[in-house]
Amino acid sequence: MSSKINSNNNNHRINGQISLQPCPHLADFRSRHRSNPFRALQDCLRIKPPGGRAAIRRDPSEVPLCGACGDSGGGRTRLYACVSCAAVHCHAPPGGGPSHAAAHAESARGGGGGGHEIAVDVDRAELFCCACRDQVYDRDFDNAVVLAQTAASTLHAPPHSVTTPTTIRLPQPENLRKRRRVDYRPWTPDPRERSLMGSSSSPLNGTVSDSDSNSDSRSNDLLPWGLRGLNNLGNTCFMNSVLQALLHTPPLRNYFLSDRHNRFYCQKKSNCNGNGDGIVNRRNASNNERNNNSRMCLACDMDAMFSAVFLRDRKPYSPAKFLYSWWQHAANLASYEQQDAHEFFISMLDGIHEKVEKERRKPHSQGNGDCCIAHRVFSGILRSDVMCMTCGFTSTTYDPCVDISLDLEPNQGGFAKMASTKSNHASNGEADCLNSSQNSGISTLMGCLDRFTRPERLGTDQKFFCQQCQVRQESLKQMSIRKLPLVSCFHIKRFEHSSTRKMSRKVDRYLQFPFSLDMAPYLSSSILRRRFGNRIFPFDGDEPEASNELSSEFELFAVVTHTGKLDAGHYVTYLRLSNQWYKCDDAWITQVNENIVRAAQGYMMFYVQKMLYYKASEKQVAA
């Protein structure tokens, strides 16, 4: 019988939003109680602090029992409260026992004009139709529950003066095309391609072995490809450490080693452009300078560096040309003073991007990563939801980002106290802190990410203008990750600059970071699901693809560490190649045990996606 009734409930998507047809009984109920049909229930919504579950209780200490048989629910039966008259009845699945809730609906229909079919689960605050014997969904009801839950999760008194909430609308994100994924097809070169490869390339093996015929070369042959020290050119350890990490960033390394940016070709092209268009880029440059300035291409210098570093030559390499080019790009940082490695990283990616943009003359969105290799590798998309605490209206924005800067958790006093109790007594109503690992008092990278994606109340001085209320209201902000980049760079904010006190300090606290990281809990889909539970939520129209879950696993491959004080410190990079760790300290590279890496003070951590997927190409391939 149930299958026939439910054929009416077609959920189909309109404009990407799930639109459920209400069952006839729900529709009937809504038309009877036009304005604010669930008003009475709102006052009975109790949010229990551990876990933030919503329950319906007339008063907080009420123990609900079935009016007909005294069943207290749990076990095989659930208790439902009729929305019209608040009578509580039990319900068991067919064959499992009586359903007094259904009987209540029946008797109301027989006796009066019906209207008692809709009930609410007292322990889960979910709507149920006793006649159809199935769960039903209502937007207004879910809005009210979500509002109460988010209000309670920030220890704020649930708002009683709520006007009838209308639908929560989210704008469609622009520039997000549905990414069609193509299955991996294995490929081996055919004889023609093989001969082409042989004739057009030279093997790396037999090139520079003559120069280092000393005893070092034999032991060095055991080291993997691409490990080469970088000379310190005067406080340039900040640059060397980041370069070492980038030289071994798999997608970047593959890009340059497969000649995707050929420095000779690029130079020829830019010389032609410079000469052909007249003085376009550098109006003030003299003829000599013009040739030199148009040569400033960080990608070309990267290309040269890759070629040099992946030789068998183990003598340290001096990235002087690169340094000079970067100085030209970031003139304000051009000095022999120690700079910030993270600042250098951002500036360098920007430099690569700018040069490409200039040539392309056509803006590409950064979020897609189509603009340049730097963004293709590092760029992800962050989603920021700002929700009005009064009416629930949520404003969503998407921003591209090349890395994620994380705050270290503030000092947690009383380590001993927290470590002893591993029980589930949630401390201070922290709704989302169920990880017992948090109790041991060590800051972890996942802890920082939890804090990053936690809903945060914007203070009274940061009231957000709500488009629905048309007035500034207190609001709740939550960050999540809409699209993961190929390589995630996590930057730990260890350098605090306080403009009020006119001083800066370094936070030395140890941060524990995992070698493998699953970013699934920080994706927008997970964060939204946690926020809304199994309520209707306007999800953007993007179904969480199964492949999204597959590609959220990351592996650590480089860690940039900082030791020392803020103004007198040293950067060192640890690289992971074939599951061996190597310490890269300017010109000195040594193999180290992984425990040394675990104990190091991480400043920037680089994680790469474990599995890469091929995106369907829009270009037609000639047969």
Partner: protein, 111 residues
């Protein structure tokens, strides 16, 4: 239009109050009053998620829905399907832990 909250006539409730509450009911009420039931529920939820039981149940539900078709399934059907499997697959360690907690509570409540 009916006013918002209306209690039904109460002969049902009176009937129950004539009988003595059973031992089970007494314990249940004591558990709820002290808040211990809520804590036990949360502990159980956490344990079941940790050991993968929840994911197993989800997978079974998904498989069932796929088989029957999205529009032909009710919550009752799902509950009916996973209840026996769910009860059977709860790990013994979790049962033991909860029993231990309840025993401890009873001892302290009896004093």
């Amino acid at each position: 239009m009916r006013p918002s909250v209306n209690r039904p006539p109460t002969p049902d409730v009176q009937e129950n109050q004539e009988k003595e509450p059973t031992l089970q009911e007494t314990i249940n009420i004591k558990l709820i009053e002290s808040g211990e039931k809520e804590r036990l529920m949360e502990l159980l939820r956490e344990r079941l998620v940790e050991c993968g039981w929840k994911d197993e149940m989800k997978a079974i539900c998904r498989a069932f829905i796929k088989k029957k078709g999205r529009n032909n399934v009710t919550v009752d059907d799902l509950v009916h399907v996973i209840t026996p499997k769910g009860r059977a697959s709860v790990p013994d360690s979790i049962k033991a832990e909860l029993l231990q907690r309840i025993r401890k509570f009873l001892v302290s409540a009896a004093l």
